[in-house]
Every structure is written in C-alpha cells, then in structure tokens.
C-alpha cells in the first residue's frame, strides 16, 4: 500500500511562502513525477512528504492515516537523495543493512534482505566495498538498495540522476522504471528534466512557484496543456509561441505550435529565412525568422538539406495549433 494525499498543504520559511495551499492525490503503485524549473518548490514538496520539513498548515494522509506530525521514520517512506547520502565509513553491506539494523531485525533476516536487494540491483560483488570505491551509478544503486530493503509504502527520489553523466542517466532511468514494474510500489520522483518526467511517469505534476499547474499522464500534458507554462515546459524543443496580429487571426492572444508540428509547405502561411540549422542526423532543427511572426523553431527530417540563409515556407499541421487567452489559459 502506498497512497499519499495532501490536502491544503502550505509551507513558508519565515515570511516567504514557498508552497501556497496545495492538494494532491497519489495513488497506490503510481509513478508520480514532480517536474518544474529550479526553485519551484518541488524538492520542498518532497521533503514535506518525507517529513524532513514540517508543514505550515494542511494535512498529509499516508494510506488513509494522518501522518502530518509523524516523524520521518514513522511514515514508512524511503528516500533516495541527490548526493546519495551513503554512509562513507560503512561497507555497502552495512549501508544497505542500516535501516534494518535500526529496526532491530535479527542478523539472519538482515543478511537475507541485503542479499536479496543486492541481487536485484546487481551489487552482489560490491557488498564489501566502501562507497568511496564505487562509481556514480553503483553508488546510486546502493542508495536505492538501502531504500528497497525497508519495503517502504512509497519511494521518494530527489533528483537522483542529476550527478550522473548523460549515458549513465539513460541507463539508470530505465533501471528505475524496471524496478517500478517489478516492485509495483508507489514512487514519487522529483526532477527538473522534462525528458525524465515524460519517459518515466504514470502521472506528471507540473509545478511552478509552488503551485500545481497541471496534473496528468505524460501524453495528456503533451497533447492538451492547460496553460502557457505547461505548454512551454513539456516538449523538447520548446513550443513556439506567436503573439500579435498572427495570433489575432486565430482569435486568441497567444498561438502555440510545437516544432514537430510545423512542416515545410509550398503554400504555407509563414515564409522566412533560416537563421540556424542544427543537424542531428535523424532530425534537423531549424530556427526560422518569419517577418511579423518572429523566430520559429521547426523540426524537419534529417534528409532535408537546408542551411543558414535559405528561404523556406512553413505551415502548421492541421489541428495541431494551441490557442491561449490573455491569462495564458488554453482555449
């Protein structure tokens, strides 16, 4: 079981209100990702759930029980930290066994659970090493191992991949997703990387300045963003926003169109000059300056041979335009 619900939770540090009243329901077995720009309060929100910070007002229920004032250890949650927070003077085995030792389990039981966790995470050969002798990815796995052995109601991940290099990040991302498939335990994952959010999440919570902008599945957020912030944050490269006369033609204040939804069309409405072409091989990202519209980022096939200074005529795919009103809400 791992059901977490927050109702009217707020947090302020002194006079600074970091999280205005916030409601959120996390269901059992879900992989929930908190995503947002840095400083949006996503880590604070995770620490509130973990119990490492006291909430200023509101209520946190874990599995239906009021956990608002419960100590971190009593909540039955396990956390994986950004710095891994391994105990440097203990071997991997002792690190993983530490929560069990604190729970006063018998030595035999501890050994059994540690071996089991090490097998799941491919750490069996490293059990007698110190954290300092491990690579970043292995340390990450030890930190996850320390979380697994407690058999928590939910896992909390605080930007766990941000200290790894790009290749390892992709591998660990998949490992964590697979772990979620195997364990089927609730996971709450904080990241600023929308790719991680899109690939891993069952449910994404987009946060901005402590407010929840939108909650939904990755594709829901991609297909129907509720407002300008979500539209701009989800998707890479960023959605193009067009304002002014061009937007007025479509009866809105801001017109949004994703780079992958703009095509080179002979009779398209926008004609401009290629300012920058980034050739990735499979795709080419063009930055096209269209007079009266502004810069448009366009994703075209890698086969298309366009370079700086070329003139192109562009048009949106039908039905792929997003319209927003003056308050930035989707129409």
């Amino acid at each position: 079981m791992g059901q977490i619900s927050l109702s009217a939770v707020t947090k302020s540090f002194g006079d600074v209100n970091v999280i205005p009243p916030l409601d959120l329901q996390i269901n059992d077995g879900e992989f929930v990702v908190f995503v947002g720009p840095s400083g949006c309060g996503k880590s604070t929100l995770l620490r509130l759930i973990a119990g490492l910070e006291d909430i200023s007002s509101g209520k946190i229920l874990i599995d239906g029980k009021d956990a608002t004032d419960a100590a971190p250890a009593e909540r039955g949650l396990a956390m994986v930290f950004q710095s891994y927070a391994l105990y440097p003077h203990m071997s991997v085995r002792k690190n993983i066994a530490f929560p069990l030792k604190m729970a006063k389990l018998s030595q035999a039981e501890q050994d059994r659970k540690v071996e089991n966790a090490a097998r799941i995470l491919n750490l069996s050969n490293y059990l007698d090493r110190r954290p300092g002798q491990l690579s970043g990815g292995q340390r990450q796995r030890v930190a996850i191992g320390r979380a697994i052995v407690r058999e928590p109601a939910a896992f909390l991940f605080d930007e766990p991949l941000s200290n790894l290099d790009a290749a390892l990040r992709v591998t660990m991302r998949q490992e964590i997703s697979e772990l979620h498939q195997t364990l089927k335990t609730t996971m709450v994952y904080v990241t600023h990387d929308q790719v991680e959010a899109m690939t891993m999440a069952d449910k994404i919570v987009v946060l901005n300045a402590g407010r929840i902008e939108q909650v939904g599945s990755p594709l829901e957020l991609y297909r129907s963003p509720r407002n300008l912030f979500v539209a701009g944050f989800i998707g890479s490269p960023k959605m193009n926003f067009i304002t002014g006369a061009e937007a007025k033609k479509h009866n809105c204040d801001t017109l949004g169109v994703r780079p992958e939804h703009v095509e080179v069309q002979a009779d398209g409405p926008w004609t401009g000059v290629v300012g920058l072409a980034e050739h990735l091989g499979s795709d080419t990202f063009l930055k096209v300056n269209v007079p009266g519209v502004g810069d448009l980022t366009v994703r075209v096939s890698g086969e298309m041979n366009l370079h700086h200074g070329d003139q192109v005529t562009l048009g949106p795919q039908s039905g792929k335009l997003y319209r927003f009103d003056a308050n930035g809400m989707a129409l």
């Binding site: 100590a71 105990y87 530490f98 929560p99 729970a103 320390r146």
Partner: protein, 290 residues
C-alpha cells in the same frame, strides 16, 4: 619545469635552510647527550670529568623518578580525557543554531590565548585559594570546610588547569569537523529510523575520528612537556606529588645544580616521548590514512 638542471638548482637553494634547521636541532641534542655523560655540577665549575652512565643510573634510581613518570602519564591521560569528551560535548552544543553564536564561539576559544603562567596564577589565586578563592567562598557559603586544592589534590588541580586551557583547542577542531558533516546523510539516517543517539554513534563519531586523532596526537606532544603550570602553582609538591618529568629535569639541573643529571633526565624524557609517540601512532595513526 622539473629538469635535471632545475632540480639541482632547487636542492642548492634550499640547502642553507635545511642545514641551519639541522644544526638547530642537532647541536643542542648533541650537547645534552655530551653533558649527560659528564660529572658536571654548577657548584664546582671547571671540575667536569667523565661519568659514563652514572648520571642515568642515579636519575632513574632516585625515588622521585618513578612518581614523576607516573605523574607525567596521568597528567597527559587526564587532560586528554577531559578535553576530548568535553570538546565533543561543547562542539555539539556550539554546532546548534542559536542567537549570538559568533560571540559565544569567540568566548569559548578565549582561554587558549591566555598564557600558561597567567592562567595558572589566576586559577591558583582567584579560584583555588583556600582563603580568598571563589571555590572557598562557595563552599563556606554552603556551610562546608574550604578545600585546599593545591595541597590536597595537586595533580588533579593541575590537570584541571591545563585541561581548561586546552579544551578550546579540542572544541575548535571538533567543531569544524562537525560542520563538514553532510546534512543529507543525517537526513537519510533519520528516514532510516535512527534516533539521535544512533545517528551520533553511527554517523557523527565515525566522521569525527580523524579530528579526534589529530587532537590526541597534537595535545600529547604538548602535554608531555607541561611545566609553567606546575612551577607557578605547586612547585612540584607537596613532596613530588605534582612533579612530572620536565619539572624533575628542571629541579635536577637548576635546583640541585646537577647539569649532568639533568641532561641525562632530558635524554630519558626524549626517549619516553618517542615511545609514547610510536605507541600512539600504532594505536590511532591509521585513522589519519585515506
């Protein structure tokens, strides 16, 4: 940079300093060793003669030597105990956030800047004096007989005085170590269900071992040669109750005018200090590695 030529030049350049330092060390040591084999008494100048190992024999067999040896070790051990445990406790307290932290930290460090003779005089006359001292006033106001610290517990009193001046040193080093403890590790342990005591035992103490080792090693070097506090307060007495090895060497050479015997004592003290150092490095030196 490190060509053969520049290396030769570098050796040439540092050699005056190295030679000077070496002489600085070896000349006094050599003279002390030389004097220790002479029958050399200041009351009979010009009558020096070869004595062989007689000085060593008489220095070691005098009854004061054994008590001086024991006192030296007791003094070191006593001060180390107080400063390490007290230092950890004070460092834990000072690590807590509170108002006026900066001022309190400066005040805690202040005793270290008071020179040994001054602190010993202050303790002797203002605190431990059985007539005018604060402790005497306190015990009188509570209806007890004042306790004459320096005559009835001379060594313990000196340990207290020395520990008072070394406590800030230990506190300061341990406090800086505490401040480098990773906060996320503490939080991880908190989530793992470790209470305050467990966090202290399994995280804080292992983190502090290296600093504790440094404190013990450095303090031992200085505590083996405590002298001023003894000279100012008890003069080694009553009897030899508070005489340690350095004080015995002083008494032998400058109170008994026996330079030969004093030199022999000095060499014995050097050997003992080395034994203690080897012993300590064996015991705790491995904490400094990695």
């Amino acid at each position: 940079m490190a060509t053969e030529h520049s290396r030769t030049a570098a050796r040439l350049m540092v050699s005056p300093a190295v030679i000077l330092l070496f002489l600085w060390m070896i000349v006094p040591l050599g003279m002390t060793i030389y004097f220790s084999f002479l029958r050399y008494n200041l009351l009979m100048p010009g009558m020096e003669s070869w004595a062989g190992f007689d000085n060593y024999y008489y220095f070691i067999t005098q009854p004061a030597f054994k008590s001086a040896l024991v006192n030296t070790l007791l003094l070191v051990a006593g001060v180390l105990l107080i400063t390490v445990f007290g230092g950890i406790a004070l460092a834990l307290l000072l690590d807590q956030p509170f108002r006026g932290q900066g001022i309190v930290r400066v005040m805690v460090i202040a005793p270290f800047f008071v020179m040994p003779t001054v602190s010993a005089l202050v303790w002797k006359n203002m605190f431990m004096n059985p007539v005018n001292g604060i402790f005497a006033h306190i015990s009188k106001s509570l209806g007890f007989q004042p306790f004459d610290f320096l005559s009835h517990a001379p060594l313990a009193s000196i340990i207290l005085i020395v520990a008072w001046s070394w406590l800030p040193f230990a506190t300061l080093i341990l406090l800086t170590a505490l401040q480098s403890l990773d906060r996320e590790q503490m939080e991880a342990a908190e989530m793992d269900g470790a209470n305050w005591l467990n966090r202290f035992i399994y995280l804080t103490l292992p983190h502090l071992t290296r600093s504790i080792t440094v404190v013990i090693l450095i303090q031992t070097i200085f505590l083996l040669s405590v002298f001023a506090e003894i000279l100012v307060t008890t003069n080694g007495g009553p009897g030899t109750a508070s005489t340690n090895l350095p004080f015995l060497v002083y008494a032998q050479s400058l109170l008994n005018f026996d330079v030969g015997g004093g030199s022999a004592g000095g060499i014995i003290a050097v050997i003992l200090a080395n034994i203690v150092a080897v012993f300590l490095m064996r015991m705790i030196g491995k904490n400094l590695e990695s």
